[in-house]
Symmetry: C2
Subunit: 352 residues, 2 copies
């Protein structure tokens, strides 16, 4: 049987109340007594029964998820995944609110936060562009004692506790290798479409992509990033004018907007003849893989992302360490040949 607080008290020769004070870092215990208790804990190998502790504490964790208010299948699926995770055992004793915030308005986020009880939250997961406003917001949350994680796109300059997302440089490098090797020795130009260079994930993907392209595929000419701003029509248009210059043999769609790109490719009759590597599994990328417009999709497991954010927020709120291995979000390379079957049950095209 595992030792309990009572065993510790007996072993240390103190009362249960004192053990409790030590365990929960409450004042009113002499340093000497504290170490006596800690020694007893080590000797018996005591580990706190988290279930019993939470039962007794009756604590409710309030977590807030801030997602950009853009029209995107990926964000919708992410939102669904969070909702689903919030129903699971990970969200035991948790109250979870998902708020969608306009991306271009720096003050919207502050007001949303205030509306949602603001500083009362125990933790917050933020997916947003890397702006001074967001950085300040994170600092404010942290100084109020909340745990903060950046989601999907990192905020490396801010005081977030953790980044929940993939290694985007590695993703960009992977895209480069696939694109380059699928293309073979054929020379030409490569277009890169991003949503916005304000998003850290886009920057990182581009960095990784360029690195490998320069090193391994110098016969390919990488064009400047096209910013589609998560807008399908705009993406289509800028892709078209880029294709206009001719000799574009491949496209790396690092951000949202795959639909705009494939539309453009179809219009000029290049679909299937241009190597396309895109990100995230949605209805459109799935269809693109099926009809061979897209050669490879680099996806992240959105359910894992949601659960990981929850686990990390929870751990940080309890000041517990996290299991790095479990929180590492891996990238999946999807091809026409290994597409997971469509899961029609929960939400529109929930990526696996």
């Amino acid at each position: 049987m595992r030792p309990t607080v009572n065993d510790i008290a007996r072993e240390a020769g103190v009362s249960l109340a004192t053990v409790d004070r030590v365990l929960n870092a409450r004042p009113g215990v002499r340093a000497k007594t504290v170490s006596a208790v800690n020694e007893a804990i080590d000797r018996l190998g005591y580990v706190r029964n988290v279930a019993a502790a939470n039962l007794a504490r009756q604590r409710i964790y309030r977590f807030l998820f801030l997602l950009p208010a853009v029209q995107s299948q990926f964000i919708s699926a992410l939102s669904d995944a969070i909702t689903e995770a919030a129903r699971g055992p990970l969200a035991e004793a948790c109250e979870i609110v998902i708020a969608r915030v306009p991306q271009r308005d720096p003050h919207a986020m502050i007001s949303v936060l205030d509306a949602e009880g603001g500083l009362q939250v125990d933790g917050c997961a933020i997916m947003a562009h890397e702006t001074p406003e967001v950085r300040d917001l994170i600092a404010r949350l942290k100084s109020d004692g909340a745990a903060v994680v950046s989601l999907i796109t990192d905020q490396p300059q801010a005081a977030r506790d953790h980044f929940v997302g993939i290694d985007n440089q590695a993703a960009g490098r992977t895209a480069a290798v696939l694109l380059g090797r699928f293309l073979g020795p054929r020379p030409g130009k490569v277009a890169v479409v991003v949503s916005s260079m304000l998003a850290r994930d886009m920057v990182d993907r581009r960095l990784g992509f360029d690195e490998v392209m320069a090193e391994r595929f110098p016969h390919l000419q990488i064009l400047p990033s096209l910013e589609g701003h998560d807008d399908r029509a705009l993406t289509r248009q800028i892709t078209l004018s880029c294709l206009d210059q001719g000799d574009v043999v491949a496209v790396y769609v690092a951000g949202a907007g795959t639909r705009g790109v494939t539309e453009a490719l179809h219009e000029v009759g290049l679909a299937g003849r241009t190597v396309v590597v895109a990100h995230e599994l949605t209805e459109h990328t799935r269809a693109g893989l099926q009809d061979r417009t897209i050669d490879a999709v680099i996806a992240q497991d959105i359910g894992h992302l949601a659960r990981s954010a929850l686990r990390v927020l929870r751990a940080k709120a309890d000041r517990r360490p996290i299991d790095e291995g479990q929180e590492q979000i891996r990238i999946t390379v999807l091809l026409r040949e290994n597409l997971p079957p469509e899961t029609s049950d929960s939400g529109p095209s929930l990526p696996i």
Copy 2:
């Protein structure tokens, strides 16, 4: 606040004892009363507090992991991952035993099981070849009320509750696409190395591989499977004699034995000039990717595997449904360019 058993009792107009009898399926309650209680449960949206229930029940789950007793970095790493998961929160109130069983001896598994308390276990995860003995063993475990999952390699004919592992056909198809496209239009022969065709995962990988090869790369000639039986020297030898026939332009290492293959390739001076796709991230495959002997590695997240097995066994033991999404083990395509940094802390070359 979430409703408790007391709320149910009040709502249903019965006593707490009766609610308890219904909840835990104890006898001595009229059908009418049962449905009254169930209606109250539905009306209030009651969900059992699992933590409190387990606390009160003081139940200890006994789970047994049966792994093949072969000399393999992958199996060692898997064993380590299970040990690590067994220390985590998932293994709360669990006693976990890992047993290594000789693969060729059909009776060894039975005797190990008996030695480990045999029928006393609440659940068992089995990684083994698909033999009649194993099938019988699973049937026996099941009839004794234990939960059974197959691990890594499935037992589709047996009465296992669940398969914890990747979609091996999809893995084989992925290998085929990468190998074929990396190779380009160059014709030639492709060698396939497996550990044993008795292992279901090998069969499935080969099936998926052949399917895509036939469909998309008909200019390549796929050679019969070479069985290395997880033996480095044997694998090296059979690879050598296969390379002897000449014109082998690619090798798909579907099973263990990558070291034997790369050794053979180096010996005949074909390393780096032959496209090699292998499985699992170990010291050797990592080194192979680094020095470009290996072009791509298809890996499964071993930590996820261990945690998933634990979660599923636990859920099955409690007769709870599982979260399909969370238990889906995805495959990771590793290239030289997206190799995760080596984690030297826990165990020898723990795959990420």
